[in-house]
């Protein structure tokens, strides 16, 4: 029996196990939405309020569930609205399939209404971009898209679906994709690389591991723990590696990078062996490459050959998934103890607590700080919640002060640093994990970039706990202006609306907190049930995120504030 290309798309999505789509209809995707109307039992469609919101929500869903996030939108402006989300997924290795409508194949290249060169635009920001011009190609393209999006180092795929191909009929046969000869996603483990690395680890006196996103993507959390414990290796985590180890794990030495913890940052330049696991030596992690871990032998485990020696020259590369490499390494390393070395982290940790953390999360006077709000919410949720952030000070404070017990619990835009990511990503996160508490921390700036998604929350009653940390500034930019631009606050002050009143207009409960004494009760009120809630907190206008290693400099330039 023949079915339309649009229906073939639905059947193909079911074959790939899709049950949730984040989308927005429009002219060039109408046949697909018409087909979707008959699949409301199998597929839940979440109508966003803007295509950027739809894609970020699909990202939030994918980052929490590990499944491929799916977004279906129309052509032209819808596709260009999606670009930010697609780029975000590319830089953070998030598996997405974004299906855009396109004008009929006969009109391609004619500047037809809402026609734009989606393939040309998205090729540099996707793992794969393909135009489906015939109904015959639907099943093949979907199978390939899902295989590419989720295998190896994941990433976004765009399928540009011409309107004629949606309407034309085809005999539907589905064959999942398991192999593409020009694409080998998971390199075979090279045992000689493992042996070299194991030898280096076995002779290390002061080893330090850095845990990246690859551990979470590769579901290697258990393998990581076994590896670290066997050779007693202290470990730090990158922003996207957060929650791969529980906060209270005894070898977890904290957050690394520009606003990370003092101890692991300082120890990067003291360790004798640095073991980078599924991380890519981003400039926000390394600072100046010429002074980065020069004394150390560097082992780099990564699934992507293009990452090896890209930023940092390594002594022992291991081209493999963390899931394969770590157990193989664990087998060859000797059980050891590094008692003194591990104890030496404490001095820096104590210094940081005294100079930074104490005054940030337990302030005795003055305005409410971001850190204390985040710390209180973290404690109130027993460190079991999913923490979604926007970008800027709210993000860095959340990464520093939110605690984790489970993996995939910090959902944040790392590579692209997308303001406006938080609110829609939190929607996707809650849909992926309906039984967990999802807390969004957003600044007043970022919250207003995708504030329209409050409509999505209202319509689908998505129980996201939104905490807006309102300092009436674009806080991180203001921080740079204070430190590096002589306090010339060029266009970073913001006159803000009544966020709680806006929430009320969307039928979302909420309240303002302006005084420290109100905070505990307001948090308890927010967490009393599973409904959406908007907690707006007036925080210190000129709060700073410390420590800070100024961009492009070395760890010894760390600023602790005074």
């Amino acid at each position: 029996m023949k079915i339309t290309g649009a229906k073939a798309l639905m059947e193909s999505l079911l074959q790939e196990g899709v049950d949730t789509i984040f989308g927005y209809p429009g002219g060039a995707i109408l046949p697909v939405f018409d087909a979707l109307y008959d699949y409301d039992k199998e597929i839940k469609h979440i109508l966003a309020r803007h295509e950027q919101g739809a894609v970020h929500a699909a990202e939030g869903y994918a980052r929490v569930s590990g499944k491929v996030g799916v977004s279906i939108i129309t052509s032209g402006p819808a596709a260009t609205n999606a670009i930010t989300g697609i780029s975000d997924a590319m830089l953070d290795s998030v598996p997405l399939v974004v299906i855009t409508g396109q004008v009929g194949a006969g009109l391609l290249g004619s500047d037809a209404f809402q026609e734009i060169d989606v393939i040309g635009i998205t090729q540099p920001i996707t793992k794969w971009a393909y135009q489906i011009r015939r109904a015959e190609d639907v099943a093949w393209a979907i199978a390939r898209a899902f295989y590419i999006a989720k295998s190896g180092r994941p990433g976004p795929v765009v399928l540009d679906f011409t309107k004629n191909a949606q309407s034309e009929e085809v005999e539907f046969v589905y064959k999942p994709c398991k192999f593409i000869r020009s694409y080998i996603p998971v390199p075979e483990l090279n045992l000689s690389q493992i042996e070299v690395a194991a030898q280096i680890i076995n002779s290390a006196q002061k080893p330090l591991a850095i845990v990246g996103h690859g551990v979470i993507i590769g579901e290697a959390e258990t393998e990581l723990k076994e590896f670290l414990e066997k050779a007693d290796i202290p470990a730090a985590w990158t922003l996207l590696g957060a929650s791969a180890m529980p906060t209270d794990f005894h070898l977890n030495m904290g957050f690394i990078g520009m606003h990370g913890n003092v101890a692991p940052n300082m120890k990067t330049n003291e360790c004798d062996v640095l073991i980078a696991i599924g991380m890519r030596f981003d400039d926000r992690v390394t600072g100046d490459l010429n002074t980065y871990a020069k004394q150390a032998k560097i082992i780099h485990i990564d699934i992507d050959a293009a990452e090896i020696n890209k930023n940092v020259k390594v002594d022992a590369p291991i081209l493999a998934s963390a899931k394969d490499a770590l157990p193989a390494l664990t087998k060859l390393i000797k059980p050891t103890k590094h008692k003194e070395w591990i104890a030496s982290f404490k001095e820096y940790a104590d210094l940081e607590f005294e100079k930074v953390i104490q005054r940030e999360i337990f302030p005795q006077s003055g305005k409410i700080t971001m850190g204390e709000v985040i710390h209180k919410v973290s404690e109130a949720t027993g460190k079991n919640a999913i923490c979604v952030t926007d970008v800027g000070q709210n993000q860095m404070a959340a990464a520093r002060y939110f605690g984790f017990t489970k993996s995939r619990s910090l959902i944040t835009s790392g590579g692209l640093g997308t303001m406006g990511f938080g609110l829609p990503a939190a929607i996707g996160a809650k849909i992926a994990a309906p039984n967990r508490t999802v807390c969004l921390f957003s600044g007043d700036g970022g919250f207003q970039m995708t504030i329209q998604e409050l409509g999505t929350i209202m319509e689908h009653q998505i129980g996201v706990k939104m905490i807006v940390l309102d300092n009436q500034f674009l806080g991180m930019v203001r921080q740079w202006q204070e430190l590096f631009y002589e306090e010339r606050y060029s266009f970073t002050r913001m006159k803000n609306p009544d966020f709680v009143a806006i929430g009320k207009a969307y039928n979302i409960d909420g309240r303002w907190v302006t005084e420290r004494e109100q905070l505990d009760e307001a948090i308890a009120d927010m967490l009393k049930d599973d409904k959406p809630y908007l907690l707006a907190v007036k925080v210190e206008k000129k709060g700073m995120i410390y420590p800070m290693i100024p961009a492009g400099t070395t760890v010894t330039n760390i600023i602790l504030g005074d």
């Binding site: 040309g120 090729q123 540099p124 590419i148 000869r181 020009s182 694409y183 080998i184 050959a305 293009a306």
Partner: protein, 184 residues
């Protein structure tokens, strides 16, 4: 910093729409000028071969090749310097017939540059010369300075590696085995 030299990047890809764009944006992103580019079907049906030359450093060319190799539709990408290659370009020169005849004998010119003559009309003569860039350039300069060149075109470089390794056929064989293993 090492000095930029000319690298030849050889790429085998699936014959799909948009592969060239995927490759060129990788150069654009790093601000690299492509010196020459040649694309054609390879000896194996369905596989296209790109030969690209670029002035850069080894550190950069390595990373560029890795980024190209990473693309889903690319089978293999690698780079070489001139000493690892046999390479060739082809050039066509259109000169005015009357000016050419006014030179007197052209036997010397033809022998010196190993010129092929492709066409002679009342108006013009078309020469063809193959060789390295320097060779085709030298003839161009000599003709320009004497009788003038009406039109001139040079192809991108094509190249064959001198190494014993036949990278693509070996690789395809291994891929075939891998596919059979996965299918089982």
């Amino acid at each position: 910093m090492e000095n930029p030299i000319l690298y030849t990047i050889i790429i085998f890809s699936e014959n799909k729409v948009g592969v060239l764009n995927q490759i060129t944006v990788i150069f654009t992103r790093r601000g690299l000028n492509i010196e020459t580019l040649s694309v054609s079907p390879s000896a194996i049906p369905g596989i296209h071969k790109f030969t690209i030359t670029v002035f850069t450093t080894e550190e950069v060319v390595k990373k560029v090749v890795q980024q190209i190799d990473k693309r889903v539709d690319i089978l293999k990408a690698y780079y070489n310097t001139d000493d690892g290659l046999v390479h060739q370009e082809i050039a066509l020169y259109k000169v005015a017939t009357d000016k050419l005849l006014a030179m007197g004998s052209i036997e010397g010119l033809i022998r010196k540059y190993q010129i092929h003559i492709l066409e002679i009309t009342e108006n013009c003569v078309v020469f063809e010369k193959t060789g390295h860039y320097e060779d085709t350039q030298k003839l161009f300069e000599e003709l320009s300075q004497t009788i003038g060149v009406l039109q001139f075109i040079r192809s991108g470089r094509i190249a064959i590696t001198k190494s014993k390794l036949e990278r693509l056929s070996d690789m395809l064989e291994e891929l075939k085995k891998l596919e059979e293993k996965i299918d089982k």
